[in-house]
Structure formats: C-alpha cells, structure tokens
Amino acid sequence: MRRLRSFRFPSACTALIAILAACLVNVSAAHAERSLPDTIAQRVAACTGCHGREGRAAPDGFHPRIAGKPAAYLHQQLLHFRDGRRRHVAMAHLLAHLDDAYLAEIAEHFAMLEIPYPAPRAPTTTAATFARGRALVIDGDATREIPPCAACHGERFTGVAPAVPGLLGLPRDYLNAQLGGWKNGLRKATSPDCMATIASRLSPRDIEAVSAWLSSQPVPAGGKAATTFSAKPPMACGSIASETHRVSP
C-alpha cells in the first residue's frame, strides 16, 4: 500500500518521456554521423597497416614488430624517422607533422601491448654460419672489441627498459637491414652512437650470421624487457644516457 502511494504519476511520466527522448536522440545521431572509436588504437591505424594488427608483424616480413618494445626506444625511433636520423620514406612522410608529445603517446601505446610472439622460423643458413652467429651474439669478439649483445640488450636479449630494444622476435631481413644500415651510416642513433661503432666492426658475413641466429630464437616469457642492466654497459651510448638523464629527478 505504501509502495503504491509512493508511485507518482507525473514523475513516472517524466521518466518515460526522458527515456523515449533519449532513444530518439540516439537514432537521429546515428543517422547524422558515423564516428570512429575515440581510442589511441584507432588513431594509429596508420601504423598497424604495415606493422600488423596491434603491432605484431608477421615473422617473414621486413616490417618489425613494435608491440611490447620499450617505450623510450620506440619514441626515440619515431623522432629519428621524423627528423631524418633514421631513413625510411614512408615513415618520414607519416610522421612529418606530428609533435614529440603525440609521438610519446603513440610509443607508450605500442610499448604497453602484450601480444604473444609467434614461434621463430627455422634457420635456413649453414651450420657454420649459425654457429658463427651464436658465438658473436653470446661471446662477442674481444679481439675486435665487439661486446656480447647481452651486455646491453639484456641477459635474455629481451631488451632493457626504457631505451634498449630486445633483439628477438624480429625478421631476419629486418635485422640484416638495421645492422647494414648502421654500418653504412644510414641508420643513426643519439651520439655517442654505440651501435654504429659496433656495426662498423662487423663484416657482412658477421651480420648475416648474427641475424640468422637471432631470428631463429624463441622469445622467452612474453619478451618483456629487463628493468635494469645486470652490469655496467661496456660502451657509452647516447640513447641510454639521454633516457637515464630524462627519467632522473
């Protein structure tokens, strides 16, 4: 009885009218204009067109995976492409009119993605080349002042946040092109450019071997980057120094 009494006709009517009106508004809005999701994933559809849905490139392609790479590393690469330190016509065109802050948001977006890695492709090189690659990656070559990759890129080659990228889960052609680019001066990083120095000490056969071995390795435990270096990096690297400087208070 009390419940009935509390039912008020005018207020119920108002509520009904409001609901009906809301429906009408929704219908007319749907007719007036489509919209795309207001998400960063939708905004960067220009990136995933080549780098694969959610940033996971196919293992047989040239375009590298970007999902899950350290954020500062990705940001630096975007700035390098935009400002001409790293050369790629399509990337330069796409990034030409974007600013540092937005590129940082884009980098953060892809860095946060956790996408499973596909199984690596079986190596197609000779056993000797494969062994040469493994030796260079794991031990380096002290006589030529080539440090082991793990000294900077993490004990499991999954990178060290925020600035050093992992080396696994990348296509062989991509790795060949990057090391070759550094050797030829086409790819550059913040000075002092340690990778340019190392690549200058690698022969084309070394590069082929290193890329073959790295691209055939499975990615451990989601490929997450380490958070600290296990020991002081063996060389001065501008990319690492500039990010350390940036994050320090």
Partner: protein, 422 residues
C-alpha cells in the same frame, strides 16, 4: 623540351640582362633603435605567420639555422642561416640590410637573391614588421652553421640569370590598402599576399618558375614537390567563399574541418604557421579568403565511368576491403577522423595527384593545439598495384554522386616514391 625551355630562357635572360643595371651599393650601417621585448615578441609571432621556420630549418636541425633544401625545377636551393652568428648567419646584418632582403630581394652585399626566397611576396611587408622580424632573429642564440651553396643547374646559377628573372618578374612594392574594404579585409589581404606568401604554392608558374600573371591563388602544381595546391578561387577545389566562416577558421587553426583535412605541404603550413595566428589575424585571413572572386559558370560534370564498367567494379571491391571501415560504405566518412569522400573536393578536383598520394602514402592530419592527437590513414602503396590503385581512385572519384576524370595506372606510377624529402 626542357632543354628548349632552358635555351629560350637563356636568350630572354641575356637580352634582359643588357637592360638591367646592378647599381646597388652595399648599405651602410645605420643608427638603429635598440630591440625591445615587444618588438622581439612581435617578430617571433610574424616569423610564425610567415612560416620562416618551414624553409629555414633543416629536418631535425636547429631552428632558423637554415640548411633545408628547397627542390625547384632548376635545382635545389638551400635556405640560409637566420640566426645571428656573425660568420655564418645574420650577425653582421643591420635592420636596413634585412629590410632590403625582404623588400628588394638583395643580400647584404647587394647580390640578388634567388627567387625561391619569396620576395615577390615579402616586398609587401611593412618596414615595422621587417624590423620586428629582424629583432627576433637577432635575439636567437647564434648557431654556427655555414650556408650550403645552392645546387642550381646552369644557367640558373648565373647572377645575370637572376638579374634577368628580376627584370621580367619582380618590382619592389608596398602593400596598398583598398580603402573601400574593411580594415579586417585589408589585414587579411596583407597577410595572404605578403608574409603568408600563399600564392608561392597556390598559383601557376611559368617556364621560368615565376607566378603567371593573374593566377595568384588560382592553384597549381608545386614545382619540385609535385603536390597540387588547389585553387582558392574555385569552389570545386579550395575556394572557401561558400563555406561556413567557422569551418574555414577551424581548418587553418586545427588542420581539420568538417569534410576537410589538410595534407602534404599544407599540413606543415598549418602546424608551423596558421595554427599560431592570433584570433584577429585568423579572422582577417578568413574574411579575405572568403572574398576572393570565385570561378563562375562551373560546367556540370558527369561520372567518367559507369557502375557497369569493370574498373568501377574492381574499385568498388577494393574500396570495400580497404577503405569502407573508416570512410563508410557510401563514402560518408566519420567526422574529422576519416573525412567523407562523397562530395569531397580533394577527391574530385581535376588534378588527382593529392588523392593518389593519400592512397599511396597515407598520412596524419597535423598535430595542432586544437587537434593534438590526429587520426592517421595507413599507406596502401605497397599492397596495391598501379592498376588496382587506379581503379580504386577512379571509383572514389566517381562513386556516390562524385564525378571526375578517370585515373590511369601511369598516373599512379608517377606519384610513387615522390614527395618525400630525404
């Protein structure tokens, strides 16, 4: 053909050079009033209005320290160092020297400057504005960066050639206000034709690279870059006389407006230049642009191909696969995130260059204060063959009531790999 043009040009130049005298004497240092914080701030603003940074900053280089290569049909011109370094920049320049560079197109030593520096526009800049710009550039930290010599082909690298060009194409002038018009309109005209140098791109150029008389703002293909700068006098291209005033302002201030997104070189103009315009200057430019006389008697066009045409069917299929998710099944678009293609002038104007480039290279709207996180379109050049891209662009130009000439596979091929500086 090109050689023919060069020879004819050279002959004209030699003839003209005979009547040109170079009697300029280097200016003397003058007594100048010191720069004030107001004049420096004004100069900084005007430098943005004129997008000086766009040419005078190399990609990834120090601001205003020069070094960017401007590609022209005659070779590459390298923009100079505007910072006050005494040896490599403007450190030894006086206000008078600077004013003369803008007004007469001559360097400190009297040498005629290459007209890639748009002094045909800058000659209209008032001496007050020139002084403010000078004060601003002199206030910058000096950057020691030696100017790179221009890489112009013979005979365009010869001083007599530039002298001849000037005799034929350049007269120093002042901006003369139209007293029948409002102050706002006149301010707009001053900015558009002077510091803004809009017709450096939005006009046709002749074989000597000079703006063809009477084509100012009438659109043209940009020499070197190859983008098509649409006519601001044509409602079928970039004319805005019939637009809502706030939409014109939004496009210049943010890079996006209903049904329109700036791309290519105009994205840079918005990012570096027009987004920084004061509210008054923005309104003045809009007022002026909306008053520009428009082409009348526009003939009606009919679609270049019928829906029964196999090219149309191929284009329709490719559109459904690659484009419809964002631009809508019927080309209706999705707000400023993915502009409508039905009725979009960037798609239907006679020159298909920009539409082709959008498909091949994709792109983002510029990041601006008003649109800081723009949506981007992926490039499709690597997954579409020339024939496929031709069918797709032809379909977009003729679907949903659009009507424009068919695009050939050759036209697609010509745009591949172009328009990006290294």
């Amino acid at each position: 053909m090109r050689r023919g043009i060069a020879i004819v040009g050279a002959l004209i130049a030699i003839g003209a050079a005979l009547v040109v005298t170079r009697t300029e004497t280097p200016s003397r240092p003058e007594i100048t009033t010191p720069a004030t914080s107001e004049s420096i701030a004004k100069g900084e603003y005007l430098a943005r209005v004129g997008q000086c940074e766009g040419c005078h900053t190399a990609r990834g280089g120090e601001r205003y320290a020069g070094g960017r290569g401007i590609v022209t049909p005659f070779g590459t011109v390298y923009a100079t160092n505007l910072t006050p370094d005494p040896d490599t920049g403007l450190g030894r320049w006086t206000r008078t020297d600077f004013r003369r560079a803008l007004h007469e197109g001559r360097s400190k030593d009297g040498r005629a400057l290459t007209p890639a520096f748009p002094y045909t526009n800058f000659t209209h800049i008032t001496s007050d504005d020139a002084a403010a710009l000078y004060d601003f550039f002199q206030s910058l930290p000096p950057v020691r960066r030696k100017n790179r010599p221009h890489a112009l082909r013979f005979p365009y690298d010869r001083p007599w050639m530039i002298a001849a060009w000037r005799a034929l194409n350049f007269t120093p002038g002042e901006f003369v206000p139209d007293t029948a018009r409002s102050a706002e309109w006149n301010r707009g005209a001053y900015l558009v034709h002077g510091l803004g140098h809009c017709d450096a791109c939005h006009a046709q150029r002749n074989a000597m690279g000079a703006v063809v008389s009477g084509t100012s703002l009438a659109g043209g293909t940009m020499p070197g870059l190859g983008w098509y700068a649409p006519s601001l006098r044509d409602p079928r291209e970039g004319g805005v006389a019939h637009w809502k005033r706030e939409d014109v302002a939004a496009l210049l201030a943010t890079g996006v407006a209903p049904g329109a997104t700036v791309a290519g070189p105009m994205a840079e103009v918005v990012r570096r230049g027009t987004q920084h315009y004061s509210a008054d200057d923005l309104q003045a430019v809009v007022e002026y642009l909306q008053s520009v006389p428009q082409v009348r008697d526009v003939p009606s066009t009919s679609p270049a191909i019928e829906p029964t045409d196999p090219v149309f069917a191929l284009g329709e299929k490719l559109y459904a696969n690659h484009c419809a998710d964002c631009h809508g099944r019927d080309g209706e678009g999705a707000g400023v995130a993915a502009p409508a293609l039905a009725g979009n002038r960037a798609v239907t104007m006679t020159s298909a260059k920009n539409a082709i480039r959008a498909v091949l290279m994709g792109g983002f709207a510029p990041a601006t204060t008003g649109n800081p996180r723009p949506y981007g379109m992926p490039p499709f050049g690597h997954i579409l063959s020339d024939a496929d891209a031709a069918a797709l662009v032809t379909y977009i130009r003729n679907g949903w009531g659009n009507a424009a000439p068919e695009v050939s596979a050759l036209a697609i091929n010509r745009e591949r790999g172009s328009a990006v500086e290294e």
